[in-house]
């Protein structure tokens, strides 16, 4: 165990995880909306927002896939100490952390079954930035979105394939520095 692994968790776990979850709930309920997360100081290979999401959702019951671009001994120690989540292959992951490139091909992750579509991986996807305008700007519609929303997505075409599997599919939590947004499988995506 690295000595730094003990640091950077929530100082007041019940309150900070409640506050963080509420932002995540809002993000998942209204796809494309951007929220701020704070309270974690994870090792530098992941963002503050991704660290907060891990602390909020992971525990010994959630096998976790760690993508190669963020995978460091420090990160693994930090995750183990603060969440107790077991590390897993993509095929068993309840939650995954990494860059978009780490997650392709997406077919490596479970998308749930017809009878239990909830048994699919939630992918915490680290992005350089969370932006509404720029390259790969997409128009989002669907449940949780009044009229439409816009967000730049790493790979709109692959994400459209994910949406096409609804009600099966992967759910994305997009993180960048302290910002978070969500893209559940129900969101319809059009490149603008």
């Amino acid at each position: 165990m690295q000595p730094d692994a003990l640091k950077g968790g929530f100082l007041d776990l019940p309150i900070q995880s409640a506050t963080a979850f509420r932002s995540l709930l809002q993000a998942m309920a209204q796809p494309g909306t951007i929220h701020q997360l704070a309270g974690a100081a994870p090792p530098p290979s992941i963002s503050v927002a991704a660290g907060v999401v891990l602390l909020t959702l992971c525990d010994p019951e959630t096998p976790l896939f760690v993508g190669v671009s963020v995978d460091t001994p420090d990160l693994r120690s930090w995750i183990s100490f603060h969440t107790g989540a077991p590390f897993s292959a993509a095929g068993e992951a309840v939650i995954a952390i990494g860059s978009w490139q780490d997650f392709t091909p997406l077919s490596a992750f479970p998308v749930g079954s017809a009878e239990f579509p909830d048994r699919s991986t939630t992918l915490i996807t680290e992005l350089v930035s969370l932006a509404r305008e720029g390259s790969n700007a997409c128009r989002l519609t669907g449940p949780g979105i009044q009229n439409f929303s816009t967000l730049c997505l790493p790979d709109p075409a692959l994400m459209q394939v994910n949406t096409a599997h609804f009600p099966l599919g992967l759910d994305f939590i997009l993180t960048s520095s302290s910002a978070v947004a969500a893209l559940p499988r129900s969101t319809r995506i059009e490149v603008i």
Binding site: L13, P14, I15, S17, A18, T19, F21, R22, L24, L25, Q26, M28, A29, Q30, T56, L57, C58, D59, E61, T62, V94, S113, A114, E115, F116, P117, D118, S120, T122, G142, P143, G144, I145, Q146, F166, P167, G169, D171, P184, R185, S186
Partner: protein
Amino acid sequence: MTEQIITPSANDKNDTTTHNPETHNFDATDSYNFAYLDEQTKRMIRRALLKALAIPGYQVPFASREMPMPYGWGTGGVQVTAACLTPDDCVKVIDQGADDTTNAVSIRSFFARTAGVRTTEATDEASLIQTRHRIPETELTEGQLLVYQVPIPEPLRFLEPRETETRKMHALSEYGLMHVKLYEDISQHGHIATAYAYPVNVEGRYVMDPSPIPKFDNPKMSDCAAIQLFGAGREQRIYAIPPYSHVKSLDFEDYPFDRLRAPGACALCGADDSYLDEVIMDDQGTRMYVCSDTDYCSTRHERGHVGDQSDLFDSEEG
């Protein structure tokens, strides 16, 4: 205040709720975590809530915990609320539209004590509303959470008792039987007799039980700005409707859905657009109709709206 005897017409049939304050002492919670539940339980419920939002109308299984109250008190709703609360919340709890029943008062004080949250009876002041069997009349706004207490989450249960079979029916969108049942209603009664827990289709995919709200409330679920979350404790299911989702009450071309509202106005505030409860006033069986939503009714009354028996309201306050 006036003793109100709610007639059976205002009660739902498939609930076993008891209203016995003697047997439930929430003071036994001297040492508890924030919002009562332990962190691991809250995380498990939170993960289920995110999946529920990602698959609108689909029932996510979760491992329900014992709560310091019986199942009929809405332990599913209480657990969902506990997993969502932050110290900044302002909580409202309604039971059949009323803030002042033993059930509503107890749950409200439970969260005031275990989570230190503020409480309110005003719909527009609440950030989280836990409800048993009604949707407030006041339109909900973005950022609000509406948490429903659900006794029986499976809309197909009375057609098919086996869980493995209902799961398959949902997987295949095989909802024909449900339409047959509703159509039998029509041939038997001339209209769809189902008045509570009237099934809805969410975003064109899952058929969902809206909990035993009167079907008058069904249209409020569609295109609603608030996040709607449903918790069934005994049956261990969580489901959700994201804001602005399309929610359609099942119906037929020749028998379109009808909200069914008794004609007339509230005797206290004069509202002609609210859901009314029939109330027996005295031993002689004198009846009147009043808003089931007590906050809506008293707010209207305070703003000067009157019904034909408003003097009763005033004498109560004096």
